[in-house]
Subunit: 362 residues, 2 copies
C-alpha cells in the first residue's frame, strides 16, 4: 500500500526538531540540508529562528525545499517531559508535532528527549487502541539485523494484552518495512517451554498462542543470534536494560580491541574496526526509529546523532510515510484485537456450555 | 577467617561429579588429575565405576590423592531435576552431594545439570534463612571483572526481601572472595532515580536504602562498564536473559571478527583474539561459581567445560572452602536479617506512636 502525501509537490514534508539532540541546531540543520539535496523531501526546520537561520546561512540552499518554522526553547533530556511541555508550550518538539496534527507536515523527526517526543505525540496525535504509551523497538543489533526487539522504551510491567499489541506492531513493521514474509514472533524468556519464565511471560504465552500471529514460543537471550524469530517481545524494562547493556558492551569491546590489536594493525584499520563494533551494537539508534502505536508518523533518534545519523533518520521517516505504515499498523492491530475478542467470546461460550452440561448431568 | 577442613591431611576434599557435563568422565577425570597434581586437594571422583576407572588408567596417579566413589547413572540437562533425583537415587550428583552432607568431602563440584545440582543441594544441605532456591552469580563479564551480577539463575519474580538477600550474599562474596573493600550495591533498572523501574525494583529501593549495605541506588544496562557498583542485583529472569544474551553476543562478535580481519591478521592471531572475545563474555562459567545460599559448599560449572575449566572450578571450590565462605555468608545474612527486622519494628513503633498522637489531637 502506497500512501499519498497531503500536498501537491509529491515531496514528503518532514518537520525536523532542529533544536533536538546534543548537537542541534548545528548538526540538525546540516542533516536537513543533506536530506534536501539527496532525497524526495521538503524539510521544515522547527527551532529558535535566529540560531537556525544562522546555521542555514552556511549552505547554499537556494534550490532546496527547506523552510523554517519558528519555535521557542527546547526540552532537555533531564526535564520531566509532561511538566516541560506545560511550561514550554512553544518548544520545538511540540511545534513540530503540531505541524503533523494540522496537516502541514507528513512526519516529525526528533533527536531530542524521547520522553518529550512521546508526551508530545500522545498529546497531539493520540495512541492506537489498547496502548498505554508509545512502544519503541526495531532491529536493535547490527549483528542480528533482521531481528526486531520490542519494547525497548518505557512500557514497564506490561499486561499480556499489551505485549501482544507490541507483537502486532512489530509484525507489521517487519513484514512491510523490512520485507520479511510472515514474521515469526517469540516471547523473550529463560527457557523455551511454555512453563518457563516469569509470571508476565507465562500469562502471555496462551494469549500469543491463540492469536493470529506466527507465534513460535519462547526464546532465550542467545536466540537473538540463532534466527529462531524475527520479532522478539519483552517488557520495556527488560528491553531497555538489554539495549543499554549492548551499547555499553559494544563500546567496551571497541576499547578492548583498540588496545589489544594496537600493535598488529595500522591505526586507520583499527579505528574503522572499532567503529564497526560500536555500530554493530547500535543499529536502531543509528537509523532512528518510529514511536510505534502513535496515530501519526513520529521518528526519534539518538541524542548524540551527527548530520549523517540525522539524514538516516530522515530517510527512515520518508519511507515510513511512503509505505503508509501508520495506517497499516492501525489496521493490523484492529484486526488482531477483533480476533482476540472473538476468541475470548468463544471461550466464554464454551465455558457456559460446559457449566450447563455439568448442571444437566447432576 | 580461615576454615579448617574436616580431615587430618590438610587437603581440601573435593567430590567431583565425574559424570557431569558434556565431556564427563573423559574431561572430568583429566581435570581431577590436573588438580591433584597442582593443588592442595584430595580428589574424590564420583561416577560409574567402570568408565571412571578406565579414564583414570590413562594417567600415572600412583602418588596422587585421587579416590573413586561409585555411583549409578547421571542426570541429564533435559531431565526434570526433582523427578530425576527421585528416579535415580544413586545418580553421581546426588552421591557427591551426600559426601559433603556426611562430612566425607568438603565441597562438591559439578559440570552437570545446574537444576539437578540445585535440587540435590537443597535436599541434602538445605538453604539459608529467607531464601527460596540457590542464587547464582558472580563477575559474569571478563570485560567487567570486578562487577558481580546476581541472580543469573532460577529465582523468578523475586520479592524485595529476596533481592536484598542476594545482595547480602553478593557483598560477602565480593568482599571476602574478591577482596573488594565495602562493595557498592545497586539495583539494575532503567533509570538512576528511585522512582524509575518496574514495580519490583521500585518496591525494593527503600528496603535496600534502609539496609546496612553500601547501597548506591539504581544503575542501568551500560553501568556494568562504568564502575558505579561492584554488586548489581536483578531478578533471575533479567539476569539469566542478560547472561545468555552476552554469551551469544560474544560468539557473534568472535565470528564477525574472524571474517572481518581474516585478510589483515594471520590465522593464529585471529583465532586467539576471537577466543578472547568469547572468554571476555564468559567469565563466571569459565571459573565455575557457587550455589549461593546453600548451607554447604557447592560449585557448578558450564556443561561444555574441558579439563582446564574443570580445574579452574576445582580451584574455585578449594578457595571457597579455605576462606570459609559458607559460614561468612550465613553470618552476614543473619546480621542483615536481624537489622531488617529491627528496622521494621522501629517503623511499626513509630507508626503506632503517630497514630496515638493523632488520636490525642482530635
Amino acid at each position: 500500500m502506497q500512501k499519498e502525501t497531503n500536498n501537491s509537490t509529491g515531496l514528503v514534508r518532514v518537520a525536523l526538531d532542529a533544536m533536538g539532540g546534543d548537537h542541534g541546531p548545528v548538526e540538525t540543520v546540516k542533516g536537513a540540508v543533506l536530506a534536501a539535496q539527496s532525497a524526495n523531501v521538503a524539510m521544515i526546520l522547527v527551532g529558535d529562528q535566529g540560531p537556525v537561520e544562522q546555521e542555514l546561512a552556511k549552505y547554499d540552499v537556494s534550490n532546496l525545499a527547506i523552510t523554517v518554522v519558528p519555535s521557542e526553547d527546547k526540552i532537555r533530556d533531564d526535564e520531566h517531559p509532561i511538566r516541560a511541555l506545560q511550561t514550554k508550550p512553544k518548544a520545538s518538539v511540540l511545534v513540530a508535532t503540531r505541524l503533523v496534527k494540522s496537516g502541514d507536515a507528513d512526519v516529525v523527526v526528533s533527536m531530542g528527549s524521547t520522553g518529550a517526543s512521546m508526551a508530545s505525540a500522545v498529546l497531539n496525535l493520540g495512541l492506537m487502541e489498547g496502548l498505554e504509551r508509545p512502544c519503541v523497538g526495531g532491529p536493535f543489533l547490527g549483528l542480528a539485523p533482521n531481528t526486531v526487539l520490542m519494547d525497548i522504551g518505557a512500557n514497564i510491567d506490561c499486561r499480556p494484552a499489551l505485549l501482544l499489541s507490541f507483537a502486532s506492531l512489530g509484525v507489521s513493521w517487519a513484514r512491510t518495512y523490512m520485507g520479511i514474509e510472515n514474521p515469526r514472533v517469540a516471547l523473550l524468556s529463560v527457557g523455551s517451554e511454555s512453563t518457563k519464565g516469569n509470571k508476565q511471560v507465562r500469562e502471555s504465552y496462551q494469549l500469543f498462542q491463540d492469536s493470529q500471529l506466527n507465534f513460535v514460543g519462547n526464546v532465550e537471550g542467545m536466540d537473538f543470534f540463532t534466527e529462531k524469530a524475527e520479532v522478539i517481545i519483552s517488557d520495556g524494562f527488560v528491553g531497555n536494560i538489554l539495549i543499554k547493556f549492548t551499547e555499553g558492551l559494544g563500546a567496551a569491546f571497541a576499547a578492548y580491541t583498540k588496545k589489544r590489536l594496537g600493535s598488529s594493525l595500522d591505526e586507520t584499520s583499527i579505528s574503522e574496526f572499532a567503529a564497526e563494533l560500536v555500530q554493530l551494537t547500535n543499529r536502531t539508534r543509528t537509523n532512528g526509529g518510529p514511536l510505534f502505536g502513535v496515530k501519526g508518523p513520529v521518528i526519534v533518534g539518538h541524542g548524540s546523532s551527527g548530520a549523517d545519523e540525522i539524514l538516516a533518520a530522515i530517510n527512515t521517516s520518508v519511507r515510513y510515510v511512503q509505505l503508509g505504515m501508520v495506517d497499516i499498523m492501525k489496521e493490523d492491530l484492529a484486526s488482531m484485537n477483533a480476533q482476540n475478542a472473538e476468541n475470548a467470546q468463544n471461550a466464554m461460550n464454551a465455558a457456559a456450555a460446559t457449566a450447563v452440561g455439568g448442571d444437566a448431568g447432576r
